[in-house]
């Protein structure tokens, strides 16, 4: 699976313009790390509810940009949070963090291309 679904990204750019997409990407780049910090804090504190909320938020914006793999990972984590079973979450969280770096990089490149 590619990092960003191109048709989704293209449609977004068409709908709101490249400048605004740049603004969105900047906001995404500022907000998502904060969400991931919340995610990790929730994991450490065994707070399934806070964990679920953070995962939910990451999932939401990932899908907006067409970052489908990232979205899928976030959804997995959201489900773990809902079911209250965070035992094996840290492995998926690591995958999420790595995928996010790729997504942000790709978005910046796509928008300047």
């Amino acid at each position: 699976m590619s990092v960003i679904d191109l048709p989704t990204f293209k449609k977004l750019k068409n709908d709101v313009g490249a400048d605004f997409v740049g603004e969105l990407i900047a906001t995404y780049g500022a907000e998502t790390p904060q969400l991931m910090t919340k995610l990790q804090q929730a994991l450490t504190a065994h707070d399934a509810s806070a964990f679920r909320q953070a995962a939910h938020s990451i999932k939401s914006t990932s899908n907006t940009f067409g970052a489908l793999q990232l979205g899928a990972l976030a959804k997995e984590l959201e489900t773990m949070g809902r079911e209250g079973n965070l035992t094996n979450a840290h492995h998926t969280v690591d995958q999420l963090v790595a995928e996010y770096d790729r997504v942000l990089q790709t978005l910046k490149e796509l928008n300047h291309g």
């Binding site: 989704t8 709908d15 709101v16 605004f20 603004e23 969105l24 906001t27 995404y28 500022a30 907000e31 909320q53 939910h56 938020s57 999932k59 939401s60 914006t61 899908n63 907006t64 959804k75």
Partner: protein, 380 residues
């Protein structure tokens, strides 16, 4: 034509990217947008500024979408605001619950701007139609209230205190405002003008026409003309002012307590009933008497009656004779006379009240289809 002009909308989402993007779509569609990051902020903002609609995320920390809906449901000022909830695709059960709690519609994220526009336009249109209806109703009620107050101020506040005469009167409107009226004008210590009238329609148009007729009659009465001349003059004015083709029946009489003469003119109205001291009805000649407001020179049945000592006079409108029971039978003139005779020993006011009660019982509390007016005069 549907009103799709831009409105002021509130976007509620804890996620910055979502807020930004949704706001952008809405602005592109011609709306102005304000933002809230959570439910609590949303409720505060809703109470502080007027919004036409809200787009509400369900999943939020510190007061989620359900809680917001709950708050709005219990606030009379916010209850009617259209709300579209935004949700993830796998949250349909949450969406259903929100709709049960009062949300109007939903959109799944990531939001498609074409669907967004369609849902927003539909909601705004409905809301604006509802608002228009509500305003119209309020305006109509205000006008009805106004007409009712005008009428209340028109009807005689007091009954005449002519020596040797006891006056009574009741007027029961069929609707909030009526087309019936009655009036007493004391010309001097011995003479009173007594008028009963009935305008052709009901409701606000009749009330206005009634007020007009009433004013004209008052003006003419104080010129101390004969009853026939007074009504003929009133008719001339009504012809000039009457575009709606309304008409009025009037009984206009001058009562002289010294001579016990009742000198009247009758414009298409019921004749009065006169009972002598023994309760027997007087025979009163009936000539042609035509309505006012339509004909250029209506016949006006002018007559002089000498009222016997201790006689009682009853004037009424056809709301009394035409009151109907559940089977559709009319109360009729005979029953009016019978009720009058039965109660003739009571005071003039009580006569009116009791005759009205008989009518009410007959019509078995059916909704009245016409105003009822009763005026009674007892002579010593």
């Amino acid at each position: 034509m549907a009103d799709h002009s831009g409105g002021h909308l509130l976007v509620v989402d804890d996620n910055s990217v979502n807020r930004l993007l949704l706001g952008r779509y809405l602005q592109q569609q011609g709306h102005t947008v304000a933002y809230a990051e959570n439910g609590r902020q949303a409720v505060d903002m809703l109470r502080a500024q007027p919004f036409e609609m809200m787009l509400l995320d369900i999943e939020m920390p510190e007061m989620n979408g359900y809680q917001v809906l709950e708050q709005m449901r219990s606030d009379a000022r916010l209850r009617d605001m259209p709300i579209i909830v935004t949700s993830a695709l796998d949250e349909m059960h949450s969406v259903v619950q929100c709709i049960q709690m009062g949300a109007e519609d939903y959109l799944t994220k990531p939001i498609d701007q074409v669907l967004l526009k369609a849902r927003i336009d539909a909601s705004l249109e409905k809301k604006r139609l509802r608002d228009g209806q509500r305003d119209l109703l309020r305006k109509m009620e205000a006008e009805l209230d106004f007409a009712r107050n005008v009428q209340r101020s028109i009807l005689p506040a007091q009954l005449p205190r002519t020596t040797g005469c006891d006056f009574g009167a009741v007027m029961i409107p069929a609707r909030a405002v009526s087309g019936d009226f009655y009036e007493f004008i004391e010309l001097d210590d011995n003479r009173v003008v007594v008028v009963v009238g009935d305008v052709s329609d009901k409701g606000v148009p009749a009330a206005l026409f009634m007020a007009l007729t009433y004013s004209l009659i008052n003006a003419e009465a104080r010129r101390a003309l004969s009853p026939r001349e007074a009504l003929a003059n009133v008719n001339r004015y009504l012809l000039n002012m009457n575009e709606a083709g309304m008409f009025v029946t009037v009984l206009y009489g001058i009562l002289n307590r010294v001579t016990r003469e009742f000198w009247y003119a009758r414009a298409g109205h019921d004749q009065p009933i006169v009972l002598d001291a023994d309760g027997q009805p007087l025979e009163i000649e009936r000539k042609a008497g035509q309505i006012l407001g339509i004909l250029p020179a209506p016949a006006l049945d002018e007559a002089h009656i000498t009222l016997p000592a201790s006689s009682t006079l009853l004037l009424f409108t056809d709301g009394a004779t035409e009151a109907m029971d559940a089977a559709g039978e009319l109360f009729g003139l005979r029953r009016v006379q019978a009720a009058f005779q039965l109660n003739r020993h009571a005071s003039a006011q009580d006569i009116c009240i009791r005759v009205w009660q008989v009518i009410e019982e007959f019509s078995a509390h059916q909704p009245p289809h016409d105003d009822v007016t009763l005026v009674a005069i007892k002579l010593d």
